[in-house]
Symmetry: none
């Protein structure tokens, strides 16, 4: 008495597609329902698959989360690369690009945080390594591009700048952006002013500070 049962994925491309369906469902769940813990069961339901099927494509719940995260990071890196190809790039351009990305992927940092936990305990060394290599490769690549744009920069300073920028965003999000939609905030209740900041504005300014400092350091060496 099997139910709707999707067409079986026989060809490799079908399998890739099936994998993607699951990832999309996971992403959507993360985005849509912040509270309802992302259980495998719920993800399967949204993907229109049975729970067991998910395990044909992912070794564990955590691997799946990491796969979603990897895909999103890839998107983010692509966004960055596009931004950096524009003429007259500066911290402003980059910040705008990133913020646009975040607006469409509001779950990005939540997921990032979850994955970080997963990488710590429940994931095979292999999966963890693959993930880190992906990040490293892209960081280095884009870092080089930045170094090219700013001749005085030393090798790896570009990647460092990127890491700092990413860190700033992630930390800032955790510190201030997310609490805004917290705990059914009694109507009329307010965040303390010291925390009630404009995530985007503050991020923009801080990114510029990091970026300009790095650029200037490079220019200093040239002079």
């Amino acid at each position: 008495m099997t139910k709707g049962q999707l067409r079986r994925a026989r060809a490799p491309e079908d399998k890739t597609e099936r994998r993607a369906v699951i990832l999309r469902a996971a992403e959507a769940l993360l985005r849509r329902d912040p509270s309802a813990g992302f259980s495998v069961g719920e993800i399967a339901r949204r993907a229109g698959l049975a729970k067991g099927t998910v395990y044909l494509y992912f070794g564990s719940r955590e691997e799946m989360l990491i796969a979603v995260h990897d895909a999103q990071m890839d998107e983010l890196f692509n966004t960055l690369e596009r931004a950096l190809s524009k003429p007259k790039v500066g911290a402003g351009t980059v910040a705008r690009a990133v913020l646009a990305f975040l607006r469409h992927r509001p779950e990005f940092f939540r997921l990032s945080t979850s994955c970080h936990g997963a990488l710590e305990d429940s994931v095979s060394a292999d999966v963890a390594r693959r993930h880190r290599e992906l990040v490293a490769t892209r960081l280095t690549g884009i870092g080089h591009r930045i170094e090219t744009l700013h001749p005085g920069m030393r090798p790896s300073e570009g990647a460092t700048l990127l890491k700092n920028s990413y860190a700033l965003m992630l930390g800032l999000w955790q510190l201030v952006a997310s609490p805004l939609r917290v705990t059914g905030a009694a109507p009329g209740e307010q965040e303390p002013a010291a925390l009630r900041i404009n995530f985007e504005a503050q991020l923009g300014v801080a990114l510029k500070d990091l970026w300009n400092a790095a650029v200037r350091r490079g220019e200093g060496r040239l002079a």
Copy 2:
């Protein structure tokens, strides 16, 4: 079926002490055993108490975690204040102070991350508010101190600088510091170079960039 049973905490000081014992146990668990999920049972065991006893001092597991976090944040803020009272403070001084703190509290950011999750769902609005107020108060206070040290700074720019600094640390930790002790890292296995950075060095530089940029902005206004 009484076991060892600690001396009963009758006087208020005793109770405060008992509370502290639990918090210390939780802290230690967090620090020592990164994998073993911090269950109430395990914390109680380490505190030498029965599980039920913990619930005499904390309304729920999450409240307890938040209390640990609050205490650690307080420590961090105190560290900051001490650093800021020194003559000739600069980003370097602050960075050194913070790094020293983190070396003794390596679990700090893991806990911070956990609490962030807890604040999102499982905690009473009241507890959440109290926590945020604590943070806000200290941020504002220390922010003022910074503003005083740098006359050109505008009100709240000090707190903003602090938040950015905190965010940077938190994000950087999540990005690079913690993975270093991951999953029984197969001996000989190496982090990709692009990630295998010196957390402390990078944090120091980035903090300085943020700090100097803020200071300079202030000085610009004075001139």
Copy 3:
């Protein structure tokens, strides 16, 4: 650091009073807060005593509940005796008296039900016996009175009539009276008509049926 600590009950009458205070608190709790399970802690709180103190006066939670129940049964029996002393008693008089009692002791049957469970498992044979003897004594006494009023009745038929009456009330309450205030009954939601009866009216009629049948049986013998 003992708190308000009531004056110690030294004299026997003080002890009796202390016992009564606890019973009253338990009763009030039962009456007022139908949901909040009657925990020993809550009862102690309402009595203005510490939990341990309660255990000085009652061997266990169940003993306490039974004591409350015994007291209430005594009241009910007194009510009955008063009703039976009136001229021209009939089922109507009795029913009215009982219903008046229930209106002031709406928790009566809930408690009765609880105690029944307690008697089954968690109470010492001694306490159970004492309880049953109390009931038996009063039933027999009042039964005799009824038999006196209706000359044709055989010995013990009075008590039997009483037991049937009590049973009818108890069962009817459980079947229909209590559900009326159930589960936040969605506004507009209605009990099925077959259940939505008037407890008092139905009880009145049924009691009369039992009563008249018994009386008539007696009269038949006389004729």
Copy 4:
């Protein structure tokens, strides 16, 4: 860590059967071991299933109890219907049928009492409604049958009679029947005579009283 693991219930009939297995286990537990609280764990053990499996078939412990109760009520109602189809039915026939039922389902009223409590707090409004509708439907149906048998009866008087009968049984059971098997009744120990009644005899007489009174009321109207 798979144990014996029953054959999986794939077809709907299998699932129904599995559900029934659980219900039977719960029933048996209720019947056999009056003391051992009916925990979900124990029921699962007796059903030869894992705890989690039970939750595939019932939303909560209370839902399960209510399901058992519903099934037993259904049985009782069927018994009643059968009794009422016999020629020359009277209270005696009905009483005998019911008593036969109770002899095979001695746990019936204990469960009834438990469910009553559950319906008050811990059950979803939906489940509660479904239960009450079941009862209402059957009561009305059988009530009609009674009304048909006794032409003078008014609509709903049949159902009322049923409710009174049920109430009488339930109350009588609670008052006298169950205590008989109490707390390891010290050998030689006796119930007080006033309580040591013959449940069946007393119930039979009282039911007849109620029944005859109702019937007579109808006949009175016809005359």
